[in-house]
């Protein structure tokens, strides 16, 4: 493990990028997935079908294929996302690589978020929506004020699984020029072939910590929002 300890800053930077990918695409997936789920359960048939097609398309496609499409096919079609390189957030320049990776992860994960959300919405008794409508709430109000807050409670366990999968799926970006944890691990093992096992263990521990933080936070959130029925 000497290779890891003597380059610990690189190790931390690698996991920093992994967490960056996770946080950015996680938030984007939650937002996009929730919107899709509202379309899926909503009364407008066009939006309903569009969201269903989206879920079918992205849930049934391997993540690696989505990455290949965005990193290799899109630039050929003229979309290289270089325009994001001018953007600076907190002294850190957004790279087109990072943006593309987040885009791929978000497109893929939001399909799963949508379905997890939908299962949560379906777990809220129909009477709650009817009561909301009966006092004059519009569809959007009854979603925001009545259904989604209750769906969120039912949705935490499946959503946690989706987010954990996302945290580990960020490793696919290793194959596309991002020096996140898995790519850095490969670099370490190439340079220190005699320490392979130690390096693997060190990076596995890193991933375990990231995932444990996610599941622990979900447990805390679940306890906080639990409501008797």
């Amino acid at each position: 493990m000497d290779a890891v300890f003597s380059n610990f800053d690189e190790y931390l930077k690698a996991f920093g990028l992994t967490i960056g990918l996770f946080v950015v695409s996680g938030i984007a997936s939650l937002v996009l997935g929730t919107i899709l789920a509202v379309f899926r359960v909503g009364p407008v048939s066009v939006l309903n079908k569009a969201a269903a097609v989206y879920v079918t398309l992205f849930r049934n496609t391997p993540l690696l294929m989505i990455f290949i499409f965005i990193f290799i096919a899109m630039p050929v079609l003229g979309y290289n996302f270089k325009f994001v390189e001018g953007i600076e957030i907190g002294g850190w320049n957004v790279s087109a690589f990072f943006f593309r990776a987040c885009l791929a992860l978000t497109l893929y994960t939001s399909a799963f978020v949508c379905e997890a959300m939908r299962s949560g919405v379906n777990a809220v008794p129909l009477g709650q929506a009817e009561a909301g409508r009966a006092i004059g709430l519009t569809f959007a109000q009854s979603m925001n004020l009545v259904i989604l807050p209750q769906a969120a409670r039912a949705v935490i366990p499946p959503m946690t699984s989706v987010l954990i999968a996302l945290a580990k799926n960020t490793s696919v970006a290793a194959a596309f020029g991002l020096a996140e944890a898995t790519a850095t691990m490969r670099g370490f093992t190439n340079n220190n072939a005699d320490q392979r096992i130690g390096i693997f263990v060190a990076f596995a521990i890193g991933y375990i910590i990231v995932v444990e933080v996610i599941s622990l936070s979900s447990y805390l959130v679940e306890r906080k929002v639990r409501v008797a029925r």
């Binding site: 009817e130 009966a134 006092i135 009545v146 008797a228």
Partner: protein
């Protein structure tokens, strides 16, 4: 509520408020509502009774369009029910609804349940809505439970909160869809008392129920439904002592024997 506040409710008493005309509704093969003609006047208390599956709940739910209808018209205060969108939401705000299963918002406190509509739909200020909600909760006898969550209350208390929630919108008409059917016998009375109270204050009410006692004491008119059609309409006295149709005789014979 003071006499002044109830005045607008009883004003114009006797004018048609809810009018159903030629209403048809199908659930697949089932003809759930057959050619329904029903006029409910302002201030009137109409009790709808009938065997299970006779379409009485469906009838109740069509009036605030929780169920759509296939044919016919329903008007409220002279205006057709809007099809959807904001206009429909606005209409529903004018029609109070009390459900069999209470349907209080499980993630909100009792007070929040009652203030949600006035704040979000009527745009009322929070303090004002809370003051009014506490008055209403006191009136239905659950004022001291305001900070609790629905699951912490008994069924009877929850149903009384549901009535307060509907009243907070100052509806023109209140619909009750079997409000006591999910309650223990001893809780039924506390809910019925609130409803009788409301009826006496001149609220227009359409009540689907199996409580014949309530129909006798509070109803101006009893509507008897069977197989999706209105079979008989009469004053409670006439209906219970002297039913005209065989279907009603049969029904009353079954329920009044015990």
């Amino acid at each position: 509520m003071t006499a002044q506040e109830t005045a607008p409710v009883s004003a114009g008493r006797g004018e048609p408020l809810v009018v159903l005309s030629g209403v048809q509704k199908h659930f697949g093969q089932l003809h759930a509502l057959q050619d329904i003609e029903l006029t409910v006047k302002r201030g009137e208390v109409v009790v709808v009774i009938g065997p299970s599956g006779s379409g009485k709940s469906t009838l109740c739910r069509t009036i605030n369009r929780l169920e759509t209808i296939d044919e016919g018209t329903i008007t409220l205060d002279g205006k057709d029910l809007p099809q959807e969108g904001k206009a429909l939401a606005a209409l529903r705000a004018e029609v109070g609804m009390v459900f069999q299963s209470f349907n209080l918002f499980a993630h909100k406190t009792i007070l929040e349940n009652v203030t949600l509509g006035p704040i979000k739909v009527r745009g009322m200020k929070k303090e004002e809505a809370e003051k009014k909600a506490r008055e209403l909760l006191d009136r239905v006898g659950v004022g001291h439970q305001a900070e609790k969550y629905p699951a912490q209350l008994s069924g009877g208390q929850q149903q009384r909160v549901a009535i307060a929630r509907a009243l907070a919108m100052e509806p023109k008409v209140m619909l009750f869809d079997e409000p006591t059917s999910a309650l223990d016998p001893e809780m039924i009375k506390e809910v019925l008392d609130v409803m009788v109270d409301l009826a006496e204050q001149g609220m227009t009410m359409i009540v689907v129920t199996h409580e014949m006692g309530f129909a006798r004491t509070a109803a101006d008119r009893v509507v008897f439904m069977a197989d999706g059609a209105i079979v008989e309409e009469n004053t409670p006295e006439e209906f219970f002592t002297n039913p005209r149709s065989d279907r009603a005789k049969d029904f009353l014979g079954k329920i009044l024997k015990h």
